[in-house]
């Protein structure tokens, strides 16, 4: 039975992954969109940087990479409950495999798909835009970015389970991600604007993650790495439990 389970999961997973790669809108959203955003924002703000050899790409390359990792939820929500896919989910539920595979394979497929996209983005950032991404400490940065992506992927599916509709989940997720990114200073540096805002911005998890990443890259300081990884991991576990509690097979009828 164990073998049968893993094979069934493999079949579902590879199908879901293929679905994602074959949807041009989502491939573009995860590769081209972040790069255009990095280019546009860095281009606009390039006059504001220059001291100590730092360019605007160094700032936006890092923050928008984190923003892309936060946006993984949009992809996973879509891959889970899009109209075309919902019907096939129902058929899978009738098959003699665990119902949880339906959402687990979607989370895994979105995670793998977006991680590959993000790494492609990282490649362009490094070789073309010459963004500093931590050099020999890049492994730590990548670990944080990917774990954030996994959390976001699980949250996207959990939101679908809670709201029982992909459209509604998208509509809720989109502003939540925007506000988190804005509050965390991912679109423009927020800390220097005013002391009150600096304190408020700690409410946004994006801020902690960005702080940890900037410390690794620019201070070679790994002090925040483990705490952030731990908190993200706990949140991932929480999101999986949330999916298990809120996933109802009736929603697919």
């Amino acid at each position: 039975m164990r073998m049968g389970n893993s094979r069934a999961f493999g079949v579902l997973f590879s199908r879901d992954l293929k679905n994602l790669f074959m949807n041009p809108a989502w491939v573009m959203y995860n590769t081209l969109f972040p790069l255009v955003l990095v280019w546009a924002l860095s281009y606009l703000t390039k006059g504001g940087y220059g001291g100590m050899g730092v360019t605007s790409y160094d700032f936006y390359g890092v923050t928008l990479l984190l923003f892309s990792a936060l946006s993984v939820a949009m992809t996973s929500a879509n891959s889970f409950m899009e109209r075309r896919i919902k019907a096939s989910n129902l058929r899978v539920l009738y098959a003699p495999i665990r119902p949880s595979f339906v959402y687990l394979s979607k989370i895994a497929a979105s995670f793998v798909f977006t991680s590959l996209c993000l790494m492609a983005v990282v490649g362009v950032l490094h070789f073309w835009f010459r963004v500093r991404l931590g050099a020999d400490l890049f492994g730590y940065v990548a670990a944080i970015v990917l774990l954030l992506g996994l959390l976001s992927s699980a949250l996207g599916v959990m939101f679908c389970c809670i709201f029982r509709s992909e459209q509604l989940a998208n509509k809720v997720l989109s502003p939540v991600i925007q506000v988190m990114a804005l509050g965390g200073g991912l679109f423009f540096p927020m800390d220097g604007l005013s002391p009150t805002l600096e304190r408020i911005s700690w409410l946004s998890p994006a801020k902690w993650v960005a702080e940890a990443v900037f410390r690794i890259i620019y201070d070679h300081d790994l002090g925040m790495f483990l705490p952030v990884m731990l908190v993200l991991s706990l949140c991932v576990v929480g999101a999986f439990v949330g999916c298990k509690l809120t996933f109802r097979t009736e929603d697919f009828v």
């Binding site: 924002l41 160094d58 604007l193 005013s194 620019y218 300081d221």
Partner: protein, 360 residues
């Protein structure tokens, strides 16, 4: 007119039937707007300087600066630049900037995150080290403030008032919500209700006008209510008067509705429409300078950004603040209205064509 009212009242009934959805969407919109207003009313445009008085320790030798960036960005000799008698650098800085006094040089990451715009290290032997990742222009400004405090005046040309900042932050959020209530229209296309309504005495004009009006109201009323609540209820300074906001928010919701409608007519699949619309909105709003002011040196980019209606919207707001003549403002208002009109007409024609081709 009767048809428009009928569509409106049906939409209200549908909204009642989907209370969860409506409350959630409006609630999120209000939360985003509230966040935008609170953030922007806190922005004062002052630079933050970290002042470190560490006699004998050069910034370059401190461990906290990562080796790759260890070179001090600029070293000023106070005597050589003819510094005034007033040697208390901290007092000079405090006149022009927000100053935080620190015991040691903050790490490089805090400069990257803009926690501090610059670090000024007073070495005690008549030398000052300035560390900043900012542009040469900012460095020069800081240098001038230190060397000639009497004649120095901070550059405020790019500073916006509270009102213009609020409008700038609202643009992206309201545009994002622009398609929130267009999904009655999208549903109608899928379910065949559109065909039945349009062939009934209501007609396509009244039907589309009703949908557009409904969407605009659902954007306008919550946004305006938040602003009124903050001003009247919490006595927060929101910059403009109510009539001025009615004009600005009215323009913004018209634009948002027009764009939402255009996307809903062009892209039939609502999921794809969402991804495309949000990408377009984020990029164009940022390029249009809604969050911060840009001056483009590149002629091509200048033309591109001038075409963006978001830019005109924010310019109207700053124009009102700076007391521009109504002639200058009318041009900008005309630009926004024209773009909204083009989007509406294009969406309308596409919808009508597809309807006649029997798609719905």
């Amino acid at each position: 007119m009767k048809g428009v009212l009928a569509v409106l009242s049906v939409n209200v009934a549908r909204a009642r039937g989907r209370q969860g959805y409506v409350i959630m969407t409006v609630g999120l919109m209000v939360a985003a707007i509230l966040a935008a207003v609170l953030i922007s009313s806190n922005v004062d445009g002052q630079a933050t300087i970290a002042y470190v008085a560490a006699p004998g320790i050069a910034a370059a030798e401190t461990d906290s600066v990562a080796p790759a960036f260890a070179t001090a960005d600029l070293s000023l000799d106070l005597d050589a630049i003819g510094a005034p008698a007033e040697r208390d650098l901290r007092a000079i800085l405090e006149r022009f900037f927000r100053v935080e006094v620190l015991d040691e040089v903050p790490p490089m990451s805090q400069l990257m995150r803009n926690r501090y715009d610059a670090v000024v290290v007073h070495n005690g032997n008549g030398r000052v080290d300035i560390l900043t990742v900012k542009s040469d222009m900012f460095r020069t400004e800081l240098e001038q403030a230190l060397s000639k405090p009497q004649s120095f005046a901070p550059d405020t040309s790019t500073h916006r008032g509270v009102g213009a900042t609020i409008v700038g932050y609202l643009v992206m959020f309201v545009l994002m919500s622009g398609s929130a209530f267009m999904n009655f229209f999208t549903d109608d296309k899928v379910s065949g209700t559109l065909r039945r309504t349009v062939t009934a005495p209501v007609g396509i004009r009244a039907y589309l006008a009703g949908q557009l009006l409904f969407n605009s109201l659902m954007l306008f009323v919550p946004t305006m209510s938040v602003l009124i609540l903050l001003k009247a209820g919490f006595h927060l300074d929101i910059g403009f008067s109510y009539p001025q906001y009615v004009l600005l928010i009215g323009l913004l919701t018209t634009l948002a509705t027009a764009f939402g409608f255009f996307m809903a007519s062009v892209v039939e699949n609502p999921d794809d429409a969402m991804a495309v619309a949000s990408s377009v909105i984020v990029v164009t709003s940022l390029l249009g300078g809604t969050f911060f002011v840009f001056e483009h040196d590149d002629a091509f980019m200048q033309i591109i950004t001038r075409l963006l209606p978001q830019r005109s919207l924010v310019q109207i707001a700053s124009g009102i603040e700076q007391g521009w003549s109504s002639g200058q403002l009318t041009g900008m208002v005309g630009h926004v209205v024209a773009i909204a009109f083009v989007l509406l007409v294009a969406g309308w024609i596409i919808c009508e064509r597809r309807f006649q081709a029997g798609r719905y």
